[in-house]
Amino acid sequence: MGIRFWERKVKAVNEDLEGCSKKRRRQRPHVLTDAYILSPSTFTMDWQGQKVAEQLMQIMLVVFAIAAFITGYILGSFELMIYVYAGGVVLTILTTIPNWPFFNRHPLKWLDPSEAEKHPKPQVTSSVSKKKTPKK
């Protein structure tokens, strides 16, 4: 899912707005929020945060693996290595999986409905003479 997916979603919502009368539009101020809520997991991590989360996960796991191996080898205990690594995995889970606020420092600015009204929709030319295969 890239940024195009969300552009299309915003466009779909705006088209939905087009069909409403002005009175109904005022009564539906949260229509973009509906699209927002429909997104998976209510999406409280921004793009920059996702990248940070992924990098943090990989780095933390590798660092804990190296630390666990060295500890286990020096102290001569295989079980100690497994315990240190398991602790590292749990710590990584707690750090990178939940939607912490520090992953949302660069939030996306969604288009305001009043702003969308000001810009006309691009017109699709209806005179298509050649038959085209539908593009996906």
């Binding site: 991590m45 693996a65 191996f69 990584t92 999986i97």
Partner: protein
Amino acid sequence: MHSFSFRANALLTFSLTILALMCAMASLTDNFNSPSPTATVQILNVNRFQKKASGDDEVGISLDISADLQSLFTWNTKQVFVFLAAEYSTPKNSLNQVSLWDGIIPAKEDAKFSIKTKNKYRFIDQGSNLRGRDFNLTLHWHVMPKTGKMFADKLVLPGFRLPESYR
């Protein structure tokens, strides 16, 4: 890294892959171990030496086995399986190996031992070739790891001889 389940799945698979690599590295460190085990075996008594009704010889012996296998243990060792085999050659078979006793050593502390025992498994020949037979008692061991490769080796103790006649 878009949704909760996506991140959880990525983390889980990555952590398991790293765990597999750690276990492989742990197994590789076993190659750095250069063990120096020692063992001696004495035959205390030949209790029984008969020719059975089927025509095969059978021997019953009492053994005194003492060994120090502590250097075989590494941080990646689960247990050491050790067994004592009598090895000899006959006109019919160039090599006969008969396991007389075995044991499992679960920890390094138990690896230095000295026991007196009768043969745990029966010493029966294929035929009637054991009178006056020279044989070796070979101590075999298998170092079973927690992860990875198993190492096996042996120590040959020559110079044993069975009696010339039945008892």
